[in-house]
């Protein structure tokens, strides 16, 4: 496995991680340099960010080194369709909560999509299970714990 990467020159994932680390370090350093208020005594709020940024720079450079040597472990091919199903469900969840669609519908979709992504072929059944799960959780939180989970039109029927 390591032989493959060496013959191809640099290991791309390792290079990419190295670049990302340098970008994060730059962001932290920039943010620290923009701070206007410092402590009157002792060390200020910028000392730690600079230390962390320096550490990340070293780690980023070390990744470049690794990229030209053994590289990162080669992962197996991923099942992108499965990932898309799950990610799609989660993105719907965020949008649903953000736009006021409520907890129960969001959970219904997440449950159904995740189960589909993990290989089940029964979207409708899973949606029903998700719906019941969401409803029960919502009611338990609202009635027993007096914590109101994000509510949409559906949830208001139960409050």
């Amino acid at each position: 496995m390591t032989n493959d990467t060496r013959t191809q020159g640099a290991n791309k994932p390792a290079l990419l991680v190295g670049v990302l680390l340098l970008i994060v370090a730059a962001l932290i350093g920039y943010d620290a340099s923009q701070q206007t208020i410092t402590s009157t005594y002792g060390v200020g709020p910028t000392a730690m960010p600079y230390v962390v940024a320096a550490g990340l720079v070293i780690l980023g450079l070390a990744h470049f080194l690794v990229a030209f040597r053994e590289g990162l472990p080669q992962p197996d091919e991923a099942d992108n369709k499965a990932l898309l199903w799950i990610a799609g469900g989660l993105i719907f969840l965020i949008a649903c909560i953000g736009l006021g669609g409520g907890f129960i519908i969001a959970i219904t979709v997440v449950f159904a999509c995740t189960a589909r992504g993990m290989g089940r072929q029964g979207l409708l059944v899973d949606a029903v299970i998700g719906f019941v799960l969401g409803l029960v959780i919502f009611l338990v939180f609202a009635k027993v714990l007096t914590l109101i989970l994000p509510s949409g039109p559906l949830e208001r029927l139960f409050l």
Binding site: T40, Y41, L159
Partner: protein, 321 residues
């Protein structure tokens, strides 16, 4: 089981209340937002209001919801967004005034409809019993001589404790910019720092230090209220010691902007009725909160005054640029 009992008593109370108080404007369903996580101080106030309002039968249903983040300013922004909602209240307090400035929040408290101040707690300045400092004057002298050597322990940066320390320095003519204030997370850590004798003085709400004060481990140099406290009659006020400074850590409720006069009246009446209820008074006693009810124009003016005072001192201390 408990809730069903509560509900039943609430229902009978509602029936009775409906007979006796027809003249009052009513809000039947109320939403109270606590702009903090469940379990915190504002959340406690909101849930206590819920308890008092339903138990006393003033409102049929009260919902508490929590909107966390950024010292309450995320909740504040949401409240301002709920323009014209006559059934919505939000708990807030002195700390939010500072948080708005510190977080450079795009929204502020002048944009809401003030309803009423509910409670207030006096702050105390304490020293360990072994400390040579005997009065606020001693502390003032020390502070004027070298502000760096006077270390203060208290709560979060820009919070009530910090602001009191800064106002104190100002009032005694020391350089407020140079105060060596060390914020601790939570009263416990600050208290430990005091007991260990690692800081010169500590600032906090009276309740937080009460046990140690009574046990004789801490000495109160001054209380920040206008009068001496009932449960600590020996502790002098700042004013008595010739320092012109008064500060209360208050909590209040506010409503969204854009309400009609009727809506404001209905909310104010509801809150006033709650404050006068037996249930609320019992909660105050149990929790050790002082009643500081103030509503209408008087609260309006008070709030404006506090905003002005806090922004002035925070700029002078260098917390806000």
């Amino acid at each position: 089981m408990l809730t069903s009992i509560l509900k039943r008593t609430a229902l009978t109370a509602v029936a009775l209340a409906a007979l006796s108080t027809a003249a009052f404007a009513q809000v039947n369903e109320l939403k109270i937002m606590a702009p903090a996580a469940p379990g915190g101080g504002w959340d406690g106030t909101a849930r206590s209001m819920q308890q008092a309002l339903t138990a006393a039968g003033i409102t049929k249903s009260v919902q508490v919801n929590n909107v966390t983040g950024a010292g309450g300013t995320i909740g504040l922004a949401q409240l301002i967004g709920a323009k014209g909602a006559g059934d919505q209240l939000m708990v807030n307090g002195f700390v939010m005034v500072g948080a708005i400035l510190l977080n450079k929040s795009p929204v502020n408290l002048t944009q809401v409809t003030p309803i009423a101040r509910l409670t207030a707690e006096a702050e105390v300045i304490v020293v360990p019993t072994e400390s040579p400092l005997k009065s606020a004057k001693d502390l003032a002298e020390r502070l004027k001589a070298d502000p760096a050597k006077v270390t203060w322990a208290g709560g979060s940066a820009g919070g009530t404790d910090h602001i009191l320390a800064a106002l104190f320095a100002q009032a005694v003519g020391a350089d407020a910019k140079k105060i060596n204030y060390i914020p601790f997370s939570g009263g416990g850590e600050a208290l430990a720092a005091m007991l260990g004798g690692r800081v010169t003085a500590g600032v906090s709400g009276y309740g937080e230090f009460e046990g140690q004060i009574k046990a004789g481990k801490l000495r109160v140099l001054a209380v920040s209220s206008s009068k001496r406290l009932e449960n600590a009659p020996d502790a002098p006020t700042l004013k008595e010691q010739g320092i012109d400074l008064e500060l209360l850590n208050w909590r209040s409720v506010v409503a969204p902007p854009g309400l009609s006069a009727d809506q404001v009246k209905a909310l104010t009446d509801t809150v006033e009725k709650m404050v006068k209820s037996k249930e609320w008074q019992e909660i105050l006693k149990a929790r050790g909160w002082d009643d500081a009810f103030l509503a209408g124009a008087a609260f309006d003016t008070f709030l404006k005054g506090e905003i002005e005072r806090v922004s002035k001192v925070m700029t002078e201390v260098g917390l806000v640029k």
